[in-house]
């Protein structure tokens, strides 16, 4: 059996658990409180006669990995949550821009009480009666 003492001011309990979890398949691991700021990790191999020196080193390396993963995960927490929230609502809230004239609004958003087909027909009718169309029509009649 090998014993590792870990300072909890450097490595969080969560990181220690994450690391220990990786080794559970091949080793027996038990955590004990050693001091106020230290945790004692007992590592025992499931196979007889295995040299645990290498495993202790691997455990320590993995502990650094786990700590870094947790730190990055903590740092990216907000952006991760924003992306997931935006994905769930179907739009990216983070890129919402100031649009006082309503340029970015869709037609439906800017005309909430109007049917789009009726509006298009009305526009066509208006065009027919426009002086430009009349002029063209007159020209056409002449030809």
């Amino acid at each position: 059996m090998k014993i590792i003492k870990i300072d909890t001011n450097i490595y969080s309990l969560r990181a220690i658990f994450s690391t220990a979890y990786i080794f559970l398949d091949n080793y027996y691991i038990f955590l004990e409180d050693f001091d106020d700021d230290k945790i004692q990790i007992k590592i025992k191999s499931k196979k007889e006669g295995e040299d645990l020196e290498k495993i202790v080193d691997e455990f320590k390396n993995e502990l650094i990995n786990a700590s870094l993963r947790l730190k990055i995960s903590e740092e990216n927490k907000k952006i991760r949550e924003t992306i997931v929230t935006s994905a769930l609502f179907g739009r990216v809230e983070a890129f919402k821009i100031d649009d006082p004239k309503g340029i970015c609004k869709t037609w439906e958003e800017s005309h909430p009480n109007q049917n789009v087909h009726e509006a298009v027909n009305n526009e066509i009718l208006k065009e027919k009666d426009s002086s430009y169309c009349k002029m063209l029509k007159c020209d056409g009649d002449k030809d």
């Binding site: 979890y21 559970l24 955590l31 004990e32 409180d33």
Partner: protein
């Protein structure tokens, strides 16, 4: 065999789940001190008596990791 489990490291909930999982394999007694849970494992099956304590601790670690 007796296991002293530190309350600062392992949660009560995870210990409860571990005891439930191992209850069919041995007689398990649970008691509590100020800073420790005390688990006594008696009369385990002959086939697993050498490993039950260590396996119990591993299972406890696994359950505690899930609760974090």
């Amino acid at each position: 065999m007796e296991i002293k489990i530190d309350k600062k490291i392992y949660s009560r909930e995870s210990l409860k789940k571990t005891i439930q999982a191992y209850a069919s394999l041995a007689k398990i007694d649970f008691s509590e001190e100020a800073n420790f849970f005390i688990v006594k494992i008696d009369n385990p099956n002959e086939e697993i008596k050498d490993v039950i304590q260590d396996e119990f601790c591993n299972y406890l670690l696994f359950e505690s990791g899930k609760c974090l």
